[in-house]
Symmetry: C2
Subunit: 351 residues, 2 copies
DNA sequence: CTGAAAGCGCTTACAG
DNA sequence: CTGAAAGCGCTTACAG
């Protein structure tokens, strides 16, 4: 620290000066006890005289003493912080995962460092280094798609991969069960009387698109049905694709009675085309999709029946696994978590 | 620390044991120098023999030494961390703001603690206490709407309010300029030849809804025009409202040639109704809206011309102000940041 | 050029 | 019941 002796500088500093943050030493001095006693009194340790404790506590409150967590962490060897390293901040995975994690840790128990690597390995290493330097107790890594991502390898702290699994089976990964999601969609449609079911898929380069298709086919087979149209139309995760695919689907399969769409965006496009063609939803054709993205699913006419991927539950599970690992009970492998069907008017009249 | 001597516990611990994180002491010992010299060598201080420095640096790399930021912060009195206290995690304000802030701080320079108070004052106090305990250097508070929110008062660290301004003018607040946004919409429509412009507003209990309306009226007046339909229809931020309001608008003002919608959701509803009524967009009626929410604005037919509220710029500005305040140069008052027009096909054919 | 010492703010045995 | 002392991991004058 260099001495700042210029008068103007001092004056400027004084204007904006914040009083030094009080320390335990201040509390002790003002309460007339030793630092050790002040510490014990504030932390509810035994062997402190009730009067002494009261005096210390009152003093601490009076000067708004807040213990310095850095010093406490240095002693304890644990910081009560975790890192959340994401590649999907603009997307919609990280945030529900973060909220679920916050819930699981218990409000205020753990603080979360959030960093966005933006799909850039260099930036990821940079953030990782900063997090490790801050001695996080654990790390949750969130990806933007369910395809496997490179493992970060052996770090000084436990890691849980959420949404995008690690490519190393020795790591602990948590993903939504997209196959199960496909089952749910088909089972719901079959249960509500549909038998000629088509599937408009998303981008086939995504594991999620293929896994959902697998689930749909499995469930259809289990119901003694086949996919109407023979094969899934894969395209992109957009309304544009939903409109185009629905056009060609209606041309080739005018008798279909249900369409499963790979995402809510695709379903919004499908609804548009069905309406333009004068096809009644859900009377003539039911529409179901995946993601249950509120803004899309509840704005349409009718509203969309959709499979929710339960990202918050994913976040809670990730936090659970992380706490277990911090306590020395590590788990590994990829665990797929169940999804949830949300029924609305696009499959059931008046729902 | 209690001694754990049970054999089974030791065995279990050993199985999962992580090697103790190396410290500067380890580096010093292995390099055969003092801790002080090791520190100087790694931090690029003068007066270290080149050979010594090389040996220390190599040793540090070999054992993957990462300096403990907690210890450094304790000394420095600064932690290089900031808090981002939000009430809008599920929403779409916080994340762009966070990204802008990350950019402004410079990747890895500052780490961000993200907490969501979920509009709950108790939870907010709880998080605030945790953040202060962790000795953040500054705090950004993000709200869910542009209406003023209660000030947090005088804290031990500088605070910048983003999106939702503080109700105390002594605080530093940054908001998007919704009046300016209204100007932009009108000026664009007028410039492209529209003269009979109506406005379907959002929820009138929102400051943003009223401010946009104010801007629209101001700009219309400046162009020598009035609001077609006489008064703004306020409702809610939904597609449903957009559809309903457009119905009644078309019934009462069949000659209008442009509709400004209070949000992209409302505009999506308006487009639906216009299409059903056989009104061509943008040929007969242009549609412009606010928010520029990609998922909504780019999925429609035609795509939506929309005013972007520039949340990332807001985040960058908030980070700038915070860094200034940390350096002792505080600013105060509410500053409104400009918005940006994104032209697409709903106002200009083929755009 | 190198290292012993003090200190950041706290907690915890340990003596009294 | 209370307090002096050691120590968490680091940095920075200060002596040598």
């Amino acid at each position: 620290m260099d001495a700042r002796t210029s008068e103007t500088e001092d004056a400027a500093a004084a204007q904006h000066a914040r009083p030094r943050t009080p320390t335990l030493k201040d509390v002790a001095r003002l309460a007339g006890v030793s630092i050790a006693t002040a510490s014990k009194a504030l932390n509810g340790r035994d062997n402190v005289h009730p009067d002494t404790r009261r005096r210390v506590v009152e003093t601490a409150e009076r000067i708004s003493f807040t213990p310095n967590s850095l010093a406490q962490s240095l002693l304890a060897g644990q910081t009560g912080t975790v890192g959340l390293l994401t590649n999907d901040l603009e997307g919609r995975f990280s945030i529900p995962v973060l909220m679920g994690a916050e819930d699981a840790f218990g409000a205020g128990k753990m603080s979360v460092f959030l960093c966005d690597a933006r799909e850039d390995a260099i930036r990821e290493q940079y953030h990782l280094h900063a997090l490790l330097g801050r001695r996080i107790d654990g790390l949750i890594v969130v990806g933007s798609r369910t395809d496997p991502r490179p493992s970060l390898g052996d770090l000084a702290v436990p890691v849980v991969y959420a949404y995008a699994p690690s490519d190393d089976p020795a790591d602990c990964s948590l993903v939504p069960d997209n196959v199960h999601a496909g089952h749910l969609a088909v089972e719901h449609l079959v249960a509500t009387g549909r038998t000629r079911i088509a599937h408009i898929g998303g981008d086939r380069t995504y594991d999620a698109a293929r896994a959902r298709d697998t689930g749909i086919r499995e469930a259809l087979a289990a119901a003694g049905l086949g996919l109407t149209g023979g094969e899934t139309l894969f395209g992109s995760w957009s309304e544009q694709w939903g409109r185009a695919a629905t056009q060609s689907l209606l041309d080739r399969q005018p008798d279909l009675d249900a369409i499963i769409c790979g995402s809510d965006q695709i379903a919004r496009g499908a609804l548009d085309t069905l309406r333009e063609r004068g096809v009644q939803v859900p009377r003539q054709v039911a529409v179901a999709s995946f993601d249950n993205w509120q803004i899309l699913a509840t704005g349409s006419r009718p509203q969309l029946t959709s499979i929710d991927m339960c990202f918050e539950a994913l976040g809670r599970a990730a936090a659970d696994r992380l706490v277990q690992a911090i306590d020395g009970r590590r788990t590994h492998g990829v665990e797929a978590l169940p999804c949830r069907l949300e029924v609305r008017g696009s499959t059931v009249e008046g729902a």
